[in-house]
């Protein structure tokens, strides 16, 4: 039971990031590697701010803002300086490593175990034990639900239509007298904002920031998006955002199963990468049929 709950918790946390990757990869067709550093950036921001006494809930918004700023930089490098998409992401990813350390005051590891978080605070402690047992998963569910609904609503706005058009047919954005570059920057800001939010929630749930937690974020996000959009999207009228969230949980379950089969923790990233490879190959085969 606790394993299942653990998988769902992790799934919800990373689903926020996967929704961001869905924006860049599926909607904008932009392979954005900056997420590998905006995920820990969110964690760094939230950990540092909580230690400084800022209310944990508020830090989530600030983490989102920091991520959005980083995404904007990736977008500007790509659009204004005309650097290729993948390289723009790599440049920001590399540079942010130092920025993340600067945020935490040059600490590669920042524990916040003793601090109040959105998961552990006097209010939660005061709840009856039957509820508090599931409080973490409930809070995560709520956050994911709110983000998903907001994203769904946004994609139905005029601005959201333009974002979808930018990934679908750039020429049409130009034909609508809009700068396609600006639209891309907006999408990258949104995606990295969500990724940083994901990192912030991760940090508050685990109780620490660690500089290397972002390694493989993009691979994980892509795997989740592909599972979601290729597998779950087949089931009737399921929205793509819902499919991505389910995809993340399934992906986390696969990783958990591999680990439960007796692999050492040190192989976690290897499993992450191999699983992604398997998913990629299977989904490509299916598409070609």
């Amino acid at each position: 039971m606790s394993i299942i709950l653990g998988v769902i918790n992790e799934g919800f946390i990373y689903a926020l990031m996967a929704l961001g990757v869905y924006i860049t990869y599926s909607i904008l067709d932009f392979p954005d590697l900056s997420v590998d550093s905006t995920f820990p950036m969110g964690a760094a921001v939230t950990a540092t701010l909580i230690l400084a006494g800022v209310p944990p809930f508020l830090t989530l918004f600030l983490a989102f803002a920091a991520g959005a700023l980083a995404g904007t930089v990736t977008g500007l490098i790509h659009v204004k300086l005309k650097v290729r998409d993948l390289l723009s992401g790599i440049i920001v990813m590399t540079g942010l490593y130092s920025i993340n350390l600067a945020i935490t005051g040059n600490k590669a590891n920042l524990p916040i175990f003793s601090q109040d978080t959105i998961f552990e605070n006097p209010f939660i402690d005061g709840l009856p034990s039957a509820v508090s047992e599931y409080s973490t998963v409930l809070i995560l569910f709520l956050i994911v639900l709110v983000v998903k609904v907001l994203l769904d609503l946004y994609l139905q706005t005029r601005s959201g239509y333009l974002l979808r058009a930018a990934g679908d047919n750039e020429a049409l954005v130009t034909a609508l007298a809009k700068d396609k570059g600006t639209v891309k920057i907006l999408g990258l800001a949104l995606a990295n904002g969500l990724t940083a939010l994901s990192g912030a929630v991760y940090c508050q749930q685990k109780g620490f920031f660690e500089i290397s937690i972002g390694t493989g974020t993009m691979v994980m996000g892509l795997a989740s998006v592909i599972i979601g959009t290729r597998v779950f999207a087949r089931f009737g009228k399921l929205k793509a955002t819902t499919a991505v969230i389910l995809g993340t949980i399934v992906y986390k379950a696969c990783v958990a199963m591999a680990m439960a089969a007796g692999l050492q923790t040190l192989y976690l990233k290897l499993i992450t990468a191999l699983l992604f490879l398997i998913i990629l190959v299977i989904s490509e085969r299916k598409r070609r049929r």
């Binding site: 946004y154 139905q156 706005t157 005029r158 601005s159 959201g160 239509y161 333009l162 979808r164 058009a165 679908d168 047919n169 020429a171 049409l172 954005v173 130009t174 034909a175 609508l176 007298a177 809009k178 700068d179 396609k180």
Partner: protein
């Protein structure tokens, strides 16, 4: 009025393959003109459209619209008053969005792309009406993704979408070339209808000499960056396909083909 003054355009400048396409090229297109542009491959037809739309940079000269210099204006800003339909039907629509969403996004051109609802429910009746004017039955498929439509259906939508909001110029870049003869005919008739209804100043590049002769009120034949034929009014009306073919043959002999 659209004016191209002393246009210069080179390709591969500074290399051994340097090629001069336009040198002191001048063209004035007046309000309400429907210009058909013909010419062999590489004669500069598409480059001309790309220069007007700002898709490629200019090496010299100026472009003016209604006496306003737009030479330095970026491509997307020029599109406020320009509608463009490409040869490839996929260029004018979003394949992963529904017919309704495509209509709605085209309808938003010129307005702010803000957080208002992407599809205004009250406009759906209007979209249906426009779509039914195509006679393709698209008005009953509003929730269908455009990607599953045929090339002809997409091109009809592209034409509709590019002329939905008020524009001054319509640029048609061989927009019937990728379609079968029957569909091409339908799209051409539709084009003529829209151009007349909205009184659009139109520039149509085509390889179909019959269309060039039948439609429009001015005809230009281009060759090596020059207009070698420029007829309008009665002179244009009297031009036959044979006359154009003859001219084509002369050019070919000249080039040694």
């Amino acid at each position: 009025m659209l004016e191209l003054k002393h246009i210069e355009k080179y390709y591969n400048q500074g290399t051994v393959n340097e090629m001069c396409l336009f040198e002191d090229f001048n063209l004035t297109i007046h309000q309400g003109e429907f210009v058909s542009v013909v010419g062999s491959n590489g004669s500069g037809k598409t480059s001309l459209l790309n220069l007007i739309c700002g898709s490629i940079p200019l090496d010299g000269g100026r472009i003016l619209i209604n006496n306003k210099d737009i030479t330095k204006m970026p491509e997307f800003k020029r599109q406020r008053i320009i509608g463009r339909v490409y040869q490839n039907p996929a260029m004018g629509t979003c394949p992963n969005m529904t017919i309704l969403e495509n209509m709605a996004i085209a309808d938003t051109k010129g307005k702010s792309f803000n957080l208002k609802k992407g599809t205004d429910r009250q406009r759906i009746g209007h979209y249906r009406e426009l779509l039914s004017s195509l006679g393709l039955g698209l008005e009953d498929k509003l929730e269908v993704k455009v990607g599953v439509l045929s090339g002809g259906q997409r091109q009809a939508m592209a034409l509709l979408m590019s002329t939905m909001t008020p524009i001054e110029f319509l640029i048609l870049d061989e927009h019937t070339a990728a379609l079968d003869p029957k569909t091409a005919e339908t799209i051409m008739e539709l084009t003529d209808k829209i151009v007349k209804e909205k009184k659009l100043t139109t520039i149509m590049v085509t390889h179909n000499l019959r269309y060039a002769v039948e439609y429009g009120n001015r005809l230009i034949m281009m060759h090596q960056g020059h207009c070698i034929i420029d007829k309008s009014g009665e002179e244009k009306a009297a031009t036959k396909v044979e006359d154009l073919l003859e001219q084509f043959n002369e050019i070919s002999i000249e080039c040694g083909n």
